[in-house]
Symmetry: C2
Subunit: 283 residues, 2 copies
C-alpha cells in the first residue's frame, strides 16, 4: 500500500466537501494552495462558470481532475425524458473532456416519480449506459459507475452494489476497453459482505476508476448530508485502501464529505487542513 505521508499529490478533494459556498475558481485555488494533487468539481458549479476557463485554471495549477460529478439521472417516466437525460449526459461528457477528467461519475438515478418498477429502472440504467459508452470513447473520458448505498435506491440510484455495477460493465464492455468501470466510494459500500470479492474482481478487470473516502458515523442523523470526516466513523479506511490498491488502483484518493451541520459550516481552509491530516494518518 502506498504511504500517503507527505504525498498530498496523491490526494484529491471533491468540491462538495465545502458545501458549494463559493465560486468554483476560489475553491480550486484553495485546494491547490493546500498542496493537494487533484480536484473533483460538480457540474452545477462548472456550468455556472466558463468550462474552458476552469479547465485552463486547473491545468495551470497542475491539478488532476479525478472525476467530473455527475451524470443526469437516467430512469425516466417517458421515453422523451429518457432521451433528454441521455443528451444531457452527452453534453456533460464533452465538458468532462474539456476539463481533462479522469472519469465521468455516473450516479444512476432512482425510480421515476410514482414508479415501483425497480427492475425496469435498472434496465433503463443499463440501456442508458450502453448509449453513453460511444460518446465516452469519442470524448476520451471513461464512465465510472458509482453504486450508491441502498438507502438511496428509491430516489437517487438503483445501482446499489459493486457486483451489480460490474455485471453491467462486463455485459456492455466485455473487451475491457478502459472506458467503462466503477467508482468505489467507502460510504456507499463499506457494509457490503461481497465487497472484497467485488473489489478484487473490479481490479482484475482494470475497472477501478476512482476511489472516494469519508466515514460512516455510527449515529447518522440524516440520510444524505451527515457523512463523517475520515477517522470519525466506523469504516476501517486503511484496510479499504489496501484492498483497492492491492487490486491495482493507482489513482488519487478523493475526499467527498456531505455534511450540512458540521463540515459545511466550517472554514474551508480548516476543512482542508483536517482532510490532509486524516488522509496521512487514518486513510
Amino acid at each position: 500500500m502506498r504511504n500517503l505521508k507527505g504525498k498530498l499529490d496523491l490526494c484529491a478533494i471533491n468540491t462538495a466537501t465545502f458545501g458549494h459556498r463559493e465560486p468554483l475558481s476560489c475553491t480550486i485555488d484553495r485546494i491547490a494552495r493546500a498542496g493537494f494533487g487533484g480536484v473533483a468539481p460538480w457540474r452545477h458549479e462548472v456550468e455556472k462558470a466558463n468550462v474552458a476557463e476552469i479547465a485552463k485554471q486547473i491545468k495551470a495549477l497542475d491539478l488532476t481532475v479525478t472525476g467530473y460529478c455527475r451524470s443526469t439521472y437516467l430512469p425516466a417516466a417517458t421515453h422523451a425524458q429518457f432521451v433528454a437525460n441521455i443528451d444531457a449526459n452527452k453534453a456533460a461528457l464533452r465538458d468532462a473532456a474539456t476539463l481533462g477528467a479522469r472519469c465521468f461519475v455516473m450516479v444512476a438515478g432512482g425510480l421515476p416519480e410514482g414508479s415501483r418498477d425497480l427492475s425496469g429502472a435498472r434496465a433503463q440504467v443499463r440501456d442508458g449506459i450502453a448509449e453513453l459508452l460511444e460518446t465516452a470513447r469519442d470524448c476520451g473520458v471513461p464512465l465510472a459507475l458509482e453504486p450508491l448505498h441502498p438507502m438511496y435506491a428509491a430516489d437517487r440510484a438503483v445501482l446499489n452494489t459493486l457486483a451489480q455495477a460490474l455485471d453491467i460493465c462486463d455485459a456492455l464492455d466485455p473487451g475491457r476497453t478502459g472506458f467503462l468501470g466503477v467508482a468505489v466510494d467507502v460510504y456507499h459500500c463499506w457494509w457490503d459482505p461481497a465487497l472484497q470479492a467485488s473489489i478484487a474482481s473490479a481490479g482484475n478487470a482494470g475497472r477501478i476508476l476512482a476511489y472516494h473516502v469519508c466515514d460512516w458515523l455510527r449515529e447518522t442523523r440524516d440520510l444524505l448530508l451527515d457523512r463523517g470526516m475520515m477517522g470519525d466513523g466506523v469504516v476501517d479506511l486503511a484496510a479499504m485502501r489496501e484492498s483497492v490498491e492491492r487490486a491495482g488502483y493507482d489513482g488519487l484518493v478523493e475526499v467527498e464529505i456531505f455534511s450540512k451541520e458540521n463540515w459545511w459550516r466550517r472554514d474551508p481552509d480548516e476543512v482542508l487542513r483536517i482532510c490532509a491530516e486524516r488522509l496521512q494518518s487514518v486513510c
Copy 2:
C-alpha cells in the same frame, strides 16, 4: 399467490406498529378484535408483563405468534459481554417457547462501540448463532435471521443481505433441520439486486420463517422511525409476496411499521383498519 381478501386470519400485526403506547394485553385484544390471525410481540413488553399470562391470553384468542422480537445483539467488545448476550438470548428463547412463537427473530447487532472490525463482528454473529441453535432445538423455536438494511450495519445489524444470512444457515445447519432460517422483511431487502435469487434459494431450503411488510417512503426523513404504510411507498408489495409464496412460504403476512411522526401518533384501531385495507388491496 394466496388471495388475502377476507382472509385477515392470514395476516398478523407486529406490536411495534403502534409505538408501544399501551400494555401488551390491550394491544393483543385489539388485534384479535380486528380479526387478524396473528401477533408478533416484543420482549420489553412481554418481560414487563407475565409471560405465562400473555401466552394464555394469546391462546384463548386463537392468535398465531408469528415471531418473538427480538434477539439481544450478539457482537460484544469483551468475551464476558458476548457470553451475557448469549445467555440473554437463551432466556428469551424459553419465553418464545412459552408463547408458542413460530420463530425467534434474530437481529444480529452492530459493531461493538468503538470497533471498526466488521468481519470480526460478523464472525461473532455466526459463533453466537451456532451457540443458540441447540437451545432453539430444545425449545422447539426456530431462529429466524433477519438481515437488516445496510444503513443499520454500524449500530444494529452486521447481517445485511439475505444471501449473507443464508450462507450462515447453510454453514450451521446443513441438514436443514427447520430450526434455522430467515425473516424476509421488505423494508430491509427490497433494493437488493440478488433478492429474487436469494428468496428462491431460501425457499428451496425451507428457510423462510417469516414475512414482514411495510413500505419504503421515497422521502424517508429518519433512518429508523419513518417506515411507510403499505401502498404509500415504492415497494412492489404484490410482486414481493408472489416471490416469497412461489418459494413456498405459507405463513402469515406480518405488518411491522416504525413511524414516530405518523402512524405512532394515530389511534391504534384506525391503524389496524388501514393495515387491514392495505393488506387486502396492495400487498
